[in-house]
């Protein structure tokens, strides 16, 4: 039915406006808008009808501005949208205009009847739009306003709607409007309305039902509402669990990124690298530098900043790692506790160095456009940057697995982890493996820094905030096994997020730390310990 919708709109508007004549042919908005200049109310009505007749959703801002009293004209004949603050927009293009000042503007005045017409017309353009998303958001908006005047519009739209998802929202909007109208409804209408609203099962619908519970007149109504509330609460509880799991996975993936490099170096060399957090910090600052260069030289390429920062951060921190290993750590073989102290000293130096160069304040690292904003998935609000970090962590993890299990370097690293002396006897150059391992671990820390720069403040203290958590993941998960780190990170992340609602963020963290300390008593070598007598030094 290609003609049905425009035809319906037209018919509806004719009835609504009582317009004498519909325009013979559909004009473009650019032709209609200028006719609003110095127009009488009657001429404005015609212009509105003409705008609606275009069926173009692009005219909605103009109509909305007219209805809200934000549409202005100048003596020169221009029509502009101005909301009292912000830029003055051209009514046709919607672009900010230069050379028009607030003093030139005079408001285009309308009366109440025209205002109602405009509201109805907007509803029509949006509820009847070709675009599913536009109709959906219009229906959502009408649910929030719950204006009884919209009921006929909604009924019209429901009848014409083909998309089941959009129709459901429209029905919810109608139900909300019906309940808000204050009319006496039949029991059937009432229970249908309640069921429609309950099917949304979010906090907003809960609020509507709770409000109506106070106004309910009969017992059956009360039972219906209570059943609806019960249903919403159950759905909310399930969603809370899902939300916590998601937050937990998100936190866990951050922990995984921060800890996995540590796990590799610890597994192979038996050394906790206290400067690991500073590698993460350097990775974040590399991202900052890349974005600075792009901002000043190639502003258009901002969305690709991370694509440049990721390999660069890996290289920079990897090289720093190799330098640290060659410069300091190789002199301390067999003395893991002293290595721990030397790397801590190093972390102080790096931190202070970054503080001296970049200053102690937070640096601004932006999100590329594909990483900003949120979307809704099965009622869960998911931010894009968190989702990308989860994906990124998974990719890094998979790549590391590949490196460890499918390359000769990985084979040598595993050999050294399992039995250093035997590996050395078989001709593996263990010092070289150590250097490469340290470089790899530091490089992965740099990658973690790129990811963390997207969700956390980039400051010289960035690494310190994660280092203890990373230690916990490593000792919990056990060394020499990447899966241990994965399970450790996700377990700690999810457990943390599930404890938070009951205990608060700080107490949750304390509980987790105490649990890990107790856990280490049971399994001194972590969840996935290497078996065999060689491990027990």
């Amino acid at each position: 039915m290609p003609f049905a919708r425009p035809f319906a709109i037209l018919l509806f508007l004719l009835a609504l406006l009582g317009a004498a004549a519909a325009p013979a042919r559909a004009q473009s908005p650019a032709e209609i808008v200028p006719t609003m200049f110095d127009a009488s109310l009657r001429e404005l009505e015609d212009a509105v009808a003409a705008l609606v007749a275009t069926g173009d959703p692009a005219v909605v801002p103009v109509l909305r501005a007219l209805g809200d009293g934000n549409l202005y004209e100048t003596d020169a004949g221009g029509i502009y949208i101005f909301s009292g603050s912000g830029p003055i927009l051209d009514a046709v293009t919607g672009e900010p205009v230069e050379g028009v000042v607030e003093g030139d503007l005079s408001r285009i005045r309308i009366n109440n009847s025209l205002r109602r017409d405009v509201a109805a017309a907007i509803g029509n353009l949006t509820l009847m739009s070709e675009n599913d998303r536009t109709r959906m958001s219009a229906a959502r908006e009408m649910f929030s306003t719950a204006d009884p005047d919209n009921i006929p519009l909604l009924e019209e739209a429901i009848a014409a709607e083909e998309n089941a998802g959009v129709r459901a929202v429209m029905e919810q909007a109608r139900a909300a409007a019906l309940l808000a109208s204050g009319e006496t409804l039949t029991e059937e209408q009432f229970s249908q309305a309640i069921a429609a609203i309950a099917s949304r099962s979010d906090r907003e619908s809960l609020a509507i039902l709770t409000r109506n519970l106070a106004n309910a007149t009969t017992d059956t109504q009360r039972t219906a509402i209570n059943a609806g509330i019960e249903r919403i609460n159950q759905a909310l509880a399930i969603r809370d669990v899902a939300q916590n799991v998601w937050y937990g996975i998100s936190l866990g993936s951050v922990l995984l990124l921060a800890a996995i490099g540590l796990a590799i170096t610890f597994g192979v060399m038996g050394v906790i690298n206290m400067a690991h957090g500073e590698m993460v910090m350097i990775g974040a600052y590399v991202t900052f530098m890349v974005q600075e260069v792009i901002r000043t030289s190639f502003p258009g390429a901002f969305d690709y900043s991370l694509a440049i920062a990721i390999p660069l951060a890996f290289l920079v921190t990897g090289l720093v790692g190799v330098a640290i290993e060659r410069g300091i750590i190789r002199w301390l073989y067999g003395r893991p506790l002293e290595t721990l102290l030397a790397t801590w000293g190093l972390s102080l130096i790096i931190q202070q160095g970054v503080r001296t160069i970049f200053g102690p304040t937070n640096r601004d690292v932006g999100n590329p456009s594909f990483m900003s904003g949120t979307f809704e998935f099965m009622g869960l609000m998911i931010t894009w940057n968190r989702l990308w970090i989860v994906i990124f962590a998974a990719v890094v993890f998979a790549l590391l697995l590949l490196v460890l299990n499918r390359t000769s370097l990985g084979l040598q690293m595993r050999a050294v982890t399992q039995n250093r002396r035997m590996a050395s006897a078989m001709g593996i150059r263990t010092p070289w493996v150590d250097a490469m391992t340290f470089g790899l671990g530091s490089g992965v820390a740099g990658l973690a820094g790129v990811a963390l720069s997207q969700i956390d403040n980039v400051s010289p203290n960035l690494g310190q905030n994660y280092i203890i958590d990373s230690f916990m993941v490593v000792v919990f998960g056990g060394v020499g096994n990447l899966w241990g780190t994965l399970v450790g990170a996700l377990t700690l992340g999810v457990a943390n997020k599930f404890l938070e609602p009951f205990a608060g963020a700080v107490l949750a963290k304390i509980v987790i730390l105490v649990l890990i300390i107790l856990f280490i008593q049971r399994r001194p070598r972590g969840l996935f310990a290497l078996k065999g007598r060689a491990v027990d030094a």
């Binding site: 038996g270 000293g345 190093l346 972390s347 130096i349 503080r355 700080v506 730390l513 280490i520 001194p524």
Partner: protein, 408 residues
């Protein structure tokens, strides 16, 4: 038996160190209180408090050295015991304020009134009595160390793993003490003290007395550690440090030895914290920060671990350096501290004392060999200089290679 142990502990070096500490405990307050202001030999007021602070740090470093230098346990959470002792003392001092606080509440400290609390929490009961507070200063850190160590050592959590979980412990405590609900003043900690044992805390005489107490406490701790180390138990500790599995196979209960050393060390640290708080006038959760605990390790390492004198020298030198640098070049301090860490671990594994000891031994060996070359005819060496180079005595045993080897 105790006198025997004390006498055994008092070799020449111990007598010298303890005599110096006692002399300092007497002379510094005397010079501060009785010499006229402006006299070149007078120790100014601020220096008395500062030195007192250094000496309490020295005690803390000594406590760490007992377990790290002699039993091979590297605790990265020793600040916890120091801070707990400090909090116990702080609670006593808070209760001494009485109704002189801002809110003039006779029992509740100001921050509790501010939070709207009605009653004193149970763990604050009795802290207005000094004897009880003193008991808690010893008991709370000791108990925590005992429980923590009991779990850790029985499960054979060793090496790096122990370091990390001790750091987790101090981090958890820091987070806990930052909470207002804990009833320890949250972020601000305990401060604004007025009296200690009835004496105004800011008065020069009280400060001097606190200094003396700290110096004497350090001397007593030194003696205590010397006693432990010279005993048979001390020998077993060194054995555990150098070859834990072997010691266990011979039949020693390694976990009990470690637990004893750890608990004694925590108690010394707690007393050090209790002496620290009245001299600086505040205790807050920052004392629990993991970075502070690691700093204790560097004092010990700089001075020389595995020697009893080393940590004292290290703590005083590093903190004097810190006081100087943070005043003169604030941006430079972290570079200096970090560089010190790297330098000491790479080039001076035995610390300052270790360097002097080996220089001294080398010098004696050279002299002895020179003499032997000169007088080939006379075979008998001098009475106090043996011809063969003396090996380092037990308590200066090289900590080199002390840790268990990494997982192989």
């Amino acid at each position: 038996m105790i006198t025997k142990a004390v006498l055994r502990a008092l070799d020449t070096k111990a007598v010298i160190v303890i005599s110096i500490l006692v002399a300092v405990a007497i002379l510094v307050p005397l010079s501060n209180l009785f010499l006229p202001v402006g006299h070149p030999m007078r120790v100014p007021n601020y220096l008395v408090s500062l030195l007192g602070k250094y000496l309490s740090y020295a005690m803390l470093a000594l406590a760490l050295d007992l377990i790290w230098g002699y039993a091979g346990i590297l605790s990265l959470g020793h600040g916890a015991f120091f801070a707990l002792g400090g909090y116990a003392m702080g609670m006593y001092l808070m209760r001494q304020i009485g109704d002189r606080g801002v809110y003039a509440n006779a029992t509740l400290p100001d921050f509790m009134v501010f939070l709207g609390w009605q009653d004193l929490p149970w763990y604050w009961q009795g802290m207005d009595m000094f004897w009880f507070a003193a008991l808690m200063i010893v008991f709370v850190p000791g108990l925590l160390a005992f429980v923590f160590g009991w779990f850790a050592f029985r499960s054979r959590v060793t090496g790096v793993y122990f370091s990390i979980i001790s750091q987790a412990m101090v981090f958890a405590l820091m987070l806990a003490f930052f909470r207002n609900d804990m009833g320890f003043g949250g972020n601000n900690g305990l401060t604004d003290f007025k009296d200690i044992l009835g004496a105004p805390i800011a008065a020069p005489a009280t400060r001097a007395a606190l200094f003396s107490a700290t110096a004497l406490a350090l001397a007593i701790s030194f003696l205590l550690c010397a006693m432990v180390i010279k005993s048979k138990l001390g020998k077993v500790m060194v054995a555990v440090r150098d070859a834990e599995s072997r010691t266990r196979f011979i039949g020693y209960r390694v976990e009990n030895v470690k637990l004893f050393a750890f608990t004694v060390s925590a108690v010394i640290a707690g007393v050090a914290g209790a002496l620290y708080v009245p001299q600086v006038g505040i205790i807050n959760p920052g004392e629990f920060s993991p970075a502070n605990s690691i700093e204790i390790v560097i004092w010990t390492a700089v001075g020389g671990r595995g020697t009893l004198l080393g940590p004292i020298i290290g703590a005083i030198l590093v903190n004097a350096g810190k006081s100087y640098f943070t005043g003169a070049f604030p941006d430079f301090w972290l570079f200096a501290l970090g560089g010190l860490f790297v330098f000491v671990t790479l080039f001076m594994p035995k610390g300052i004392v270790g360097v002097f000891v080996s220089a001294w031994t080398a010098l004696r060996a050279r002299r002895a060999s020179a003499r032997a070359q000169k007088g080939i005819g006379s075979v008998t060496p001098g009475p106090d200089e043996p011809a063969t180079p003396r090996t380092a005595p037990d308590d200066e045993a090289a900590p080199h290679g002390a840790e268990p080897k990494p997982a192989e």
